[in-house]
Amino acid sequence: MAFTGNLKNSFYRSWTQWLLVLTMGALIASCTKNKKEEYGLDIRETLRININTEPPSLDWNKATDTTSSTVTVNIMDGLAQYDLNDPELKLLPALAESWEPSEKAKVWTFKLRKGVKWTDGVEFTAQHVIDGWERLLNSSTASEYAYFLFSVKNAQNYFEKKVKDFGEVGVKATDPYTLVVTLNQPASFFPYLTTHHSTYPIRKDLIQKFGDQWPEAGNMVSLGAYKLKVWEHDKAIVLERNDDYYGGKAKIKNILAYMIVEGSTALNLFETGKLDSQHEIPSVELSKYKERKEIREKPALILQYYGFNTKKAPTNNVLVRKAIAHAIDKSEIVSILGGGQVPLTSWIPVGMMGYEPDIGLKFDVEKAKEYLAKAGYPDGKKLPRLVIGLNTNEDHKRVAENIQGQLKRNLGIDVEIQNEEWKTYLNRLKVDPPNVFRMGWQADYPDPDNFMNLMTSTSENNRTGWKNSGFDKLVNDAVSLTDNSKRKELYSKAQRLLLEEGVAAVPLYSSVRHKLVADRVVNYPINVMDLLVYKYTSLKE
C-alpha cells in the first residue's frame, strides 16, 4: 500500500510541477508582451487606434466607406488636401503645387509637384492622375464613386460607353507636371473633389501585375506620409512611416489600427491602456465619460432630418407638413439624446458656409394648430393615420418616440412608428416611403452644394417626391459662382423654398462626435469632416 501511495504522490507531484512550469511560462510571456505590441512594434513609437471593422477595400478608386478612407487618407495624397487647422477646412496644395480656374471656373489647370516619388521609387507624373480617373470612370471597374467625376466633360459619356476614347474626356496632361481639366459647366467646388480618395492617382502597371490583389500589403505602393506594412484581415493593419514623404516626415513611426466592432470592447481596451484613442462612444456610456479629460467633442457636418412623402396622404398636403414642422421642439430631442447635438431648423448644418439659424419653420404650437385646422383637421380630428419610418437603431427610436409624443401633445394626432432593418428600410424608401421618414446626410466635402444638391429634382437621394425647378436653378447657379457672399444669398433663398414653402423635410439636429484620446497623444486630428490624418500627431516620451 505504501508503494502505491508513493506512486500516487509522484504522479501528483509531476503534475503540479508541470502546472507550475506552465503558469510561469504564461506569466513570463505576458510580462514580455507588455513592452512590445504584436507585429514587433515598440509601443513608444506606435499609435494604436480602432478603425471598427475590416476596411471593405483599400483600392481607393473603389472604396466607399469611412473605415477604408481612414487608411487611404494616411497612405495617399490627392492633388489638394484640407487645411486641418482651418475651421472652414480651406484647401492646401498636396500633389498639386497650385491650381487656377479659367473661363469662370469651367477649366481648371493644376500644376503638379516635381520630384515626388512613389514608395517604390517611381516618379509621380500627371499620367498617374489620368490613369486613376480613367479607371474610376471605366465601367468595367464598377466603382460606386464613378459619378464623382461626372462634372468633367464627357466623363459620364465615357462611363456609359457613349464615348469610346478617353482622349475625348476633359482631362489632359499638357506636360508631365500640368493637368488641364475641362468641366461640363462651371463648378467652384471642383478642387475639393481632388481631396477625395476616389480621384487619387494610381499605378496602372501594378494593377495589371497584381489584379485585384494590388491593395494587399507588399503589393501596394503609395505617395502618402505612411505606407501599408501589414494587413491581417479582420484583425489589424499596420502603417509604417514613409521616410521619403515629400511633405516632411510624420512624427509617429507606426500606426497600429485594430478592427474592433463593439464600442464597449474598445472602451475596455482604452481604459486598460491598450488603445490610444476611440472614436465611437455608445450613447448610454457617454455620460460616464463626459467629465473625463481624455474626451474631445467636435460638431460634425452631419444633418439628421425627417423627410415627408409629399405624394402620400395626408402628407401630400403642404398645410399638414407645415403643422408637423411647427409642432416639433428640437431642443427637446437634443436633450433626450444628451450628446451635445445642435438643434437645427436650416438645411445646411452648423459649421458650414451658408448656415443661417433663422431659416426654417420654428417651434410654434399655435401656428401648428392653425395650419392643421386650415388643412381640414381641427384638433387632429379625422386625420388619416400617419406613419414614421426609421431604420432600427436605439437613438433613432428614442427620437421617433419623442416626436410621437410631441405630436400627440401639441396637435392631438396619433402616429405609428415603423422600424425596419437598414437595407430593408432603404428598399422601402425606394419603393414606397412612409409619410415621414428618418434620414441623415454626412458631408462628402465641406461645401454647401453637397447638402443642397440632395433635394434637387434629379437627385436619387431626394425620396420626398418634392420637385421644384426654382430650387434646382438656385442650386445650379450657386455652384458656378466663386463669390461666397453671392452663393450664400442663393442658398438662403433655396433653403427657404425647401423648408418654409415646400416643407419637403424637417431638419432635426446636426450631430456631434465624441472621441477619447489618451494622455500621451499630442495633436490628435479633430475636425468637422472627421478626417483622421495622423501625419501631424505625435506621442509624448
Binding site: 511560462g25 504564461a26 510571456a29 505576458s30 508582451k33 504584436e38 471593422t53 475590416e54 471593405p56 477595400s57 483600392d59 473603389k62 472604396a63 466607399t64 465601367s139 468595367s140 464598377a142 466603382s143 460606386e144 464613378a146 459619378y147 461626372f150 459620364q156 462611363f159 456609359e160 485585384d212 490583389q213 491593395p215 491581417e232 484581415h233 479582420d234 484583425k235 485594430y258 478592427m259 474592433i260 466592432v261 463593439e262 470592447t265 474598445a266 475596455n268 481596451l269 481604459e271 486598460t272 491598450k274 432593418e421 437598414w422 437595407k423 430593408t424 428600410y425 432603404l426 428598399n427 422601402r428 425606394k430 434620414m439 441623415g440 446626410w441 462628402d444 436619387e460 437621394n461
Partner: protein
Amino acid sequence: MRLKALLWPVVGIIFSSTLVLSFLNFGGPLVTFLNWATIGSLLFALGYFVIAQQMLVYVSKRLVEAALTLFVIATMTFLMLRFLPGGPFDSEKALPPEVKANIEAKYGLNDPVAIQYKNYMFNLLRGDLGESYKYLGRSVSDIVGEAFPVSLKLGIYALIISFIVGIPLGVLAAAKHNTYVDNALMVLAMSGVAVPSFLTAPILIIIFSFWLNWLPPALWDGPEYYIMPVIVLGVRPAAYIARLTRASVLEVIQADFVRTARAKGLPQTMILFKHVLRNSLIPVLTYAGPLIAGILSGTFVVEVIFAVPGMGRHFVLSVTNRDYPLVLALTLLFGSLLVVANLVVDILYGVIDPRIRVKGSS
C-alpha cells in the same frame, strides 16, 4: 487487438500535444505537422472503427444523404436571400441609376434569378464560392479560410473545458445525490445555463482585467488573450453537460448490473467511472453533435465582446450587408459541420455502447 489498444493513446497524445502547443501560440513546421497528424489520426481512428463495426454501407448512405441535405440548404438560402428586400448595393447615399446598374451587371445581379441560381450551383460544384460583394477583391473562401481557424481554436478549447468540467461535476452530483454538494452543484449549473454570455463576459472582464489586471480585456494575440473567451464560451455547455450527465448517471445507477457490481464489492469510484459513466454518456453524446457544430463555427456574442477575429461577426454582418456569396458559404459551412458532427456522434454511439448497432451494418 494490439493495434486497437494502441490507437486511442496515440491519438490522445498527438491531440493533447497539439492543443498545448497551439494554446501557447507556437508556430512552425512541427505544429503544422501535429495539426495534420491530429486530423489524420482522428480520421484513421474513425475509419478503423467504421470498418471494424462493418458500418461502411451505413456511413456511405449517410454521406449521400448529407450531400442532398447540403444541396437543399444551398437552394433554400439562395432563394431566401433573393426574396429579402434591399440589395447589396443599396446604401444611405443612393447611387445614380447608371452607376448602380453597372455594378449589378458586374456581379450578374440583373440576370433572371433562375440564371443566377444555375451559375451559382455550377460554380459551387467546381468549388468556387465566389467573391465577396462587400470586401472587394477577396474571395469568400479566403474570408472563411482566415476566420474559421480562429473560431475553431476558440471552439475546441471551450469544448474541451466544457467536457472536462461538465462530466466529472455531473458524476459527482449524482454520486452525492440529494446532498448539499448535489444541490450546490446544480444551482451552479442552472445559473451556468441561465446566465447569458453577454453577462458573464463583462463580469470576468471587470474582475480579471480591471480589478486584478491579470488578463487583457480583449484582442487575440496569445495565450493570456485566449483564457477569458474560452471560459465564457465553455461555461454554458459545461453546465448543460453536468446536468445531462447527472440525470443520466442517476438513471443508470439503478440498473441491475450496477447492483451486481456493488454486490461484488467493487469500490464506488470504480463502479461510477467504469460501469456507470460509460453507459450514461449517450445523452451527452447526442447533445455534443449540434453543440460542436455550433461552437466551432463561431459565436457572435463572445467573439464580438472579446474582439476575436473569427466567424461569429460574419454570420451577422454578411446578412445585414446582403453579401450573398458570404452568407451562402457560411450557411453551407455550418450545415456541413452539423451533418458531419452528427454522423461522427452516431458512429461513436457504437464505441461507447457496443450494444448499439445501426441498420445497414451486419
